[in-house]
């Protein structure tokens, strides 16, 4: 079970929830579960979301495993210069 925190723009698409409890073994499963529970999240997931796992930011690399009790933040993909 992982505690997933959403950024504010995303929480509006998840029924106003800012944190969710999700059981998932990797990023792919995390996205699948989130999209099933909150279809409004699907377009954001399709567009690309960054995932912070215990402080390390990953792009949407599906195979990245989620450790038990990991602290997970979903963040917008960031532009750089």
């Amino acid at each position: 079970m992982a505690k997933v925190t959403l950024w504010s723009g995303l929480s509006a698409a998840a029924g106003g929830n800012t944190t969710l409890e999700v059981t998932a073994k990797d990023i792919r499963e995390l996205f699948r579960v989130l999209a099933e529970q909150y279809p409004g999240l699907a377009p954001f997931i399709a567009q690309g979301i960054a995932v912070s796992i215990d402080g390390v930011i990953y792009r949407d690399t599906w195979s990245k495993e989620l450790p038990d009790n990991a602290e997970i933040f979903l963040l917008p993909r960031i532009a750089g210069g």
């Binding site: 509006a12 402080g55 390390v56």
Partner: protein, 754 residues
Amino acid sequence: MGFDPSYANRAFKSVGTRPVRPDGVDKVTGRARYGADFNLAGQLVGRILRSPHAHARIVRIDTSKAAALPGVKAVITAADLPDYTHGDSDLFDILDNCMARTKVFYDGHAVAAVAAIDARTAAEALDLIVVEYEVLPHVTDVDAAMKPSAPLLHDTVFTGGVDPKPTTPSNVANRSQYGHGDVEAGFGAADIIIERSFKTEQTHQGYIEPHACVANINADGSGELWVCTQGHFVFRQQCATLLGMEVSKLRVTSSEIGGGFGGKTHIWAEPVALALSRKAGRPVKLVMSREEVFRASGPTSATSIDVKIGARKDGTITAASATLRYSCGPYNGPWAMLGAMTAFACYDLANVKSVGYEVLVNRPKTAAYRAPSAPMAAFAVESVIDELAHRIGMDPVAFRIRNAAREGTQSSYGPVYGPIGIGPTLEAARNHPHMKAPLGPNQGRGMACGFWFNFGGQTCTDLNIGVDGTVTLAVGTVDVGGSRASLSLVAAEELGIPYAQVNAVVADTATLGYNDMTDGSRGTFSSSMATISAARNAITIMRGRAAVMWSIPLEDVAWENGQAVAKGDKHGNLAPLTMKDIAGAAAKTGGPIAGHSELVADGAGVSFATHICDVEVDPETGATKVVRYTVVQDAGKAVHPTYVEGQYQGGAAQGIGWALNEEYVYGGDGRLQNAGFLDYRVPVCSDLPMIDTQILEIPNPNHPYGVRGVGETSIVPPLGAIANAVSNAVGVRMTHIPMSPPRILAALEATQPG
């Protein structure tokens, strides 16, 4: 087995040295080929007709006279760029920005283009194009654009990020919010609260080389594009989509780049050049003039920011909040969001909240500029932090150290930090001789901190071993700051060979797998990770070849100091095999030797910097001279220290220009008044002191050598550091960037009685 990017402490032989860059001689002798230096037989000259209005509806475009002019081979409008974006609103905005479809949204917005046999004919043809406009009211100021009475750019934009969705359209495209804790309770616990409002004006990246490309679409629909860009693979993808082409049919080659700083992560004229070539059936070269670069490409946001920070008398910050309004040009962007995410990232805050508003205005489409959006937010926050320290009676550095984020801190944008460098940069600044140097009359000292995320991304690298044992390293990240030298050092380090034995090139899109842009300070971070992986793969192959040559098991072959060695003494006294030995026998041992790597470079370590600045302000004229400047920044591991220092100095130099002089000036008619380097003043050598640098190395745990990106963070602190220095010199808090002489004189005069 997958590649393990974990950091391992080691002694380096090549990494950390300072060899001359391989592209240096060509650049100083004028042989290097930039975007405008490519030419093809039969090539035409492309030119773009641009709107003179800030906001207008396009009623009619008549291109018949231009098309009939002898020497004109193609004339295009938006009708020649049909919409292939399939509902992708971001891509549609790019298409609309490249060529206006129904309305023009800013002075300089493209409305038509021609390809002709020479520049004179092309210019004549532009004059023959008739565009009938219905001029509309415009708005260029970020605060004015938010008012309900402001002219509306789009009647289809309803503020996103708010619940419930608004029922009326507005120029506020999106709202975003970050933070944690209870800021109201935090302010209630504060002994002192400072609240101020700030403005920053729009600036341009100021790259010396204008946008330039040569496009060629063949009769079979395939095409080539030679272009000055920070990311030729992304350009290929976007241009192919907008032209309705298959991606593999378009081959894009990146030129040398005369500066990009984020401005060359966006396509502007390239789809237009490709469409002209497709219509004319001939190659088309399109080079923007400097005026076009200013009017129609690149600027960063103008901003309006409110900051409120409260602290106890012991120097502990109890709460911080900010509202950030960033101009986006006519299209939605992530700019205020990035400001909101980065504003308080340097500090360990129990209660923090930042809200960003993306504001649409009649200015060019906002583009990324080196740590996009962070410098303006840092200016506002670092100004209030400094003022708060003074009010409490604490040294500004000590105040920041007391509140600095550290490993385990929950960042203001969400995640918990791993090992980070803000504390060490502040300690280094406190102990730097600069902080103790005496100041002269009319001089002031300021300092400020800055943060940038850094990121990695998709990266592909090939490492080919030549028959003589030399190495060609093919990378797909454009070299914007010496990365060919840095990546050659990494390949040499991993293989155990001299730097001179490696030659790095930037491959085109047809010869290497996809690579993301060189942005987000990712070039050296990502491509060095892929280079290490490719080199390790090549070593595995070379060990295998040595095993064949010796007829011994693979596991008995080790790789040491650039050579294969037989382990132990059971194989007799075999002499080591060099790469030249192994490559020379390759035809008989299995064929060509190469190491490949395709990966997503994740785990880019966040980056922090602290800058110290001394200025002298002339009270008669308001002119400011920067007399001393010091940059302290964490690099994780400096692969090529000279180019790391160059990034630090370059960011500081651009920040100095931004802080003191650079500014888009619009007239009441919504037209840009200063579209040239005479009236838009970037700093030149005589404006700048020697910028001193101090590299800290706090290893990134997610890179084999500990590397962090270094390209962007150095532009984040200068606005705040210089504002604090000027404010200390003149005794008035400066809240409007740039602090040009008229603004400083106005601030001084406002303090005079009567």
